[in-house]
């Protein structure tokens, strides 16, 4: 009796909530697509991922909405570990990537992924690292800070969003180039916590995202000394020199590139379809307007360009992190 009723209930429920079976790749996507973000809700990556995917549901884009799943922890390791080992490879779960973060972490070891575990789709943004100090700091230029750090090794405390993220890479590059020695203080809670430490004066300075630093400067809380990129940022910070201009040979390897990727093993047709549509989606007028409003620098790159960029970073970081 019980068995019978159970079966009845099961079939009733089946009828009530029937979903389509496994779809063919040609129909992809026939249901909403997820994007796993390896950082908490409200962080820069999460916030930008929500904006750049907002037009996915349009008929001329994917035709299905994209939803965000947050899997934060350990500077992104938790989310990418999950994505590289447990995510479906049917194209219905993508992940946001942060370069150089995940590449540097995989070089340092202790994680289950490397650049080969993923297939890039497209890049939406590039957020350079900037060197900042509190608004009342005695440092007014990057030279003053570095000269002080040379004279007082280990006394200049610099906050950043964690170990082996773009901020840390920038600090390592500056140290390697100048011979100065900083005390790099990784904070938990991403760029916001690192920014708080600078504004509150817990540390002498910090390395942070250009977008967040731009807003904090607008609010009158900090000074921005230099940007770790090849060119000045004309849109947001035309007056801030690059480290190169200041005379330090520090390139754009610490720039935080954000984009979407799928897990290795995803069918080629799905990758091709995404690689064709996603950059279009990132370049959409409404996306661009919202990104600009939020102070987030956009840089749309195709799958092929991202593959080159990943390979370059892989080689550079393997060299920089050797012996650390």
């Amino acid at each position: 009796m019980k068995k019978l009723m159970t079966r009845l209930a099961m079939s009733l429920a089946g009828a009530a909530f029937a979903f389509a079976g496994t779809a063919l790749a040609g129909d992809y996507p026939d249901r909403p697509v997820g994007v796993a973000v390896s950082y908490g809700a409200g962080g820069a990556t999460d916030f930008q991922a929500r904006i750049v995917t907002m037009v996915a549901g349009n008929e001329d884009m994917l035709g299905q909405p994209i939803y965000i799943v947050n899997k934060p922890g350990a500077g992104g390791r938790v989310g990418w570990n999950w994505f590289s080992t447990e995510a479906e490879t049917d194209g219905y779960m993508m992940s946001a990537y942060n370069v150089p973060h995940f590449i540097a972490q995989s070089i340092k070891g202790g994680v289950k992924y490397s650049a080969d575990s993923f297939e890039p789709i497209a890049n939406w943004g590039a957020d350079p690292a900037v060197v900042i100090v509190g608004k009342d700091s005695k440092f007014n230029t990057i030279q003053e800070m570095i000269d002080f750090a040379k004279a007082n090794p280990g006394k200049v405390t610099l906050s950043g969003a964690g170990l082996f993220v773009g901020h840390h890479i920038a600090a390592l590059q500056i140290q390697k180039e100048t011979g100065a020695k900083f005390a790099y203080i990784p904070t938990k809670g991403g760029g916001a916590a690192a920014m708080k430490a600078v504004i509150a004066g817990d540390v002498l300075g910090g390395i942070n995202n250009l977008s967040d630093a731009f807003r904090a400067r607008e609010a009158g809380n900090i000074k921005i000394l230099a940007v770790a990129d090849l060119e000045r940022n004309a849109e947001f910070l035309p007056d801030v020199p690059t480290l190169m201009e200041a005379g330090y040979n520090v390139d754009n390897s610490s720039v935080n590139f954000r984009g979407l990727m799928v897990r290795k093993g995803t069918p080629q047709e799905v990758i091709d379809k995404l690689a064709a549509k996603v950059p279009e989606m990132f370049a959409h007028k409404r996306v661009a307007k919202r990104m600009k409003a939020g102070g987030s620098p956009v840089k749309v790159m195709s799958r092929a360009e991202v593959q080159t960029m990943w390979a370059e970073r892989q080689a550079f970081l393997a060299d920089l992190l050797k012996g650390l």
Partner: protein, 503 residues
């Protein structure tokens, strides 16, 4: 008094509709175990894409306010806090409900939420510049001591045994360290793959509070007499009003503690309720009644967790620093509309800023009104027979814990912790200190590590952690708190030979 000029914006038809919708929706989401305020606000962000900036913020503000209060409903009726903020409410609130005072507890909880909430928002309106400086005064060493102070609260919280209370807290601290270490990326205490991501606080909260309730219901068996979970007879609203007016002490302690704790970035509202509950207990002449269904416990806890809402936005609105996970999501909601919080926010975008704040003020009042209505419905649901209740809570717990991160691992963790907690509770360990340990562990650790690194670059850890007026004050409070718990425990120790009369 500038804000008075912007009340008009709140009462435009669309805004008012959003305010009411946000409040009712927030109450329902808040009352559902597993849906925290942070999640509710994050889920609403996409809706605000299509709204004007001020209107989008009204929706978010209303939802934030009411989810925090809505969590009290399930805390009182089912002993399952909707969010970490409502843990303290469950301690006395559920006892009241069991004794047939469910409606009274719900009334008191919404009324005290309203009072605390309004005062909190008023603080935000009038004292923001001053409070912003105060919020910044807390560096890593202070936050470390503050977390330790929170841990010492454990000893006196909802436990008949001092040592078992502290031990429960230690178990919570240990659980908080499981998974990848946040700074060095080292793997700690990971025995199975489900644990690599660590223990998510919401999954843990659902497991620790909901599953023991389900098992408790199972233990009654097929007993026709015990079929009703709890009866919730009607209670005169007028009496509740009178009772609130007569509970000045609990209300004041709750509001003051909630406002102060809410202000400190990173510690946030999760512990405001627990700390206020503990303080109300220590200052009450009826200490022994706490934990046995004492209305003051509910009042202090709920006043605190809504009083924290306003001040928790101070660092966000003035310095662009989100002080809590929910504030971080709100920041996203602001940025999407091109509004950068900062010292000049009120000059550049007065309309948006003041409409947002005013909507929270009105939202508090609406929350009380609709909350009391919702409570009537919720009470009806709570009258469901035990077998339905047990099944429903179990299914909700599974769905709720899964949907936080869409992870099966979280469901496994939720069930395992829940079953373990059921047996631990049978031997005098308690859930509230354990969860407090789980919440405070990461705060204490992150600030310990950060402080140690900064200290190494300055004058060493002794100077960094043990000098300065704020450090010394916090250390003094820690010592007093431990001493007090120890002393009162010795006084009332069940095993002590001299049986001192209770006060």
């Amino acid at each position: 008094m500038e804000f008075l000029g912007y009340f008009g914006g709140v009462f435009e038809p669309v805004s008012l509709l959003l305010l009411i919708g946000g409040t009712i929706g927030g109450l329902i989401l808040g009352a559902t175990p597993g849906l925290s305020p942070t999640m509710a606000v994050a889920l609403l962000i996409p809706f605000t894409f299509h709204l004007a900036p001020a209107q989008g913020l009204i929706l978010l503000g209303a939802a934030y306010t009411s989810t925090v209060a809505g969590g009290a409903v399930s805390a009182i009726l089912l002993k399952i806090p909707g969010a970490p903020a409502n843990i303290a409410t469950a301690l006395d609130g559920n006892e009241m409900a069991r004794q047939g005072h469910g409606a009274r507890a719900l009334h008191l909880s919404f009324l005290s939420s309203g009072v605390g909430g309004v005062i909190g928002v008023l603080l935000l309106i009038f004292l923001t510049p001053m409070l912003a400086q105060w919020a910044l005064a807390f560096g890593p060493s202070h936050l470390f001591w503050l977390a330790i102070l929170g841990v010492t609260v454990i000893g006196s919280l909802d436990s008949k045994s001092f040592v078992k209370g502290l031990l429960s807290g230690c178990i919570g601290l240990w659980l908080s360290m499981i998974g990848f270490d946040d700074i060095y990326g080292a793997q700690r205490f990971i025995f199975t793959d489900a644990l690599t991501g660590g223990i998510h606080i919401i999954a843990a909260l659902i497991g620790i509070f909901a599953i023991p309730q389900v098992l408790e219901m199972f233990s009654k068996g097929r007993d026709g007499r015990a079929i009703q979970t709890i009866a919730v007879p009607d209670h005169s609203l007028k009496d509740s009003f009178r009772e609130i007016l007569g509970s000045g002490r609990a209300l004041t302690i709750g509001t003051v503690v909630g406002s102060i704790v809410g202000l400190i970035p990173g510690v946030g509202g999760q512990i405001a309720g627990l700390v206020a509950y503990d303080q109300a207990k220590k200052f009450s002449p009826h200490k022994d009644k706490f934990g046995t269904g004492h209305p003051e416990g509910v009042i202090a806890a709920e006043a605190a967790n809504n009083a924290m809402v306003g001040p928790s936005l101070v660092p966000l609105l003035t310095l662009s620093i989100p002080g809590s996970p929910t504030a971080a999501v709100l920041l996203g909601g602001l940025l999407i509309h091109g509004i950068f919080p900062g010292t000049d926010l009120f000059e550049r975008n007065p309309e948006v800023a003041w409409t947002f704040i005013n909507s929270m003020l009105i939202g508090q009042v609406l929350m009380v009104v609709f909350g009391i209505y919702t409570a009537v419905w919720a009470a009806k649901i709570a009258r469901a027979p035990i077998p339905i209740m047990a099944s429903a809570v179990l299914v909700l717990a599974v769905f709720g814990s899964y949907s936080v991160q869409q992870s099966m691992g979280d469901v496994t963790i939720m069930i395992s912790l829940g079953v373990a907690m059921f047996f631990l509770e049978k031997f005098g360990f308690s859930a509230a200190p354990l969860v407090l340990g789980l919440i405070l562990g990461p705060i204490a650790e992150a600030n310990f590590n950060q402080g140690t690194l900064i200290a190494a670059a300055q004058d060493g850890p002794m100077v960094y952690f043990f000098t300065g007026p704020l450090n010394l004050l916090l250390i003094l409070l820690v010592v007093l708190s431990v001493g007090y718990s120890f002393w009162s425990n010795m006084l009332h120790a069940p095993g002590s030979a001299k049986l001192e009369p209770a006060e």
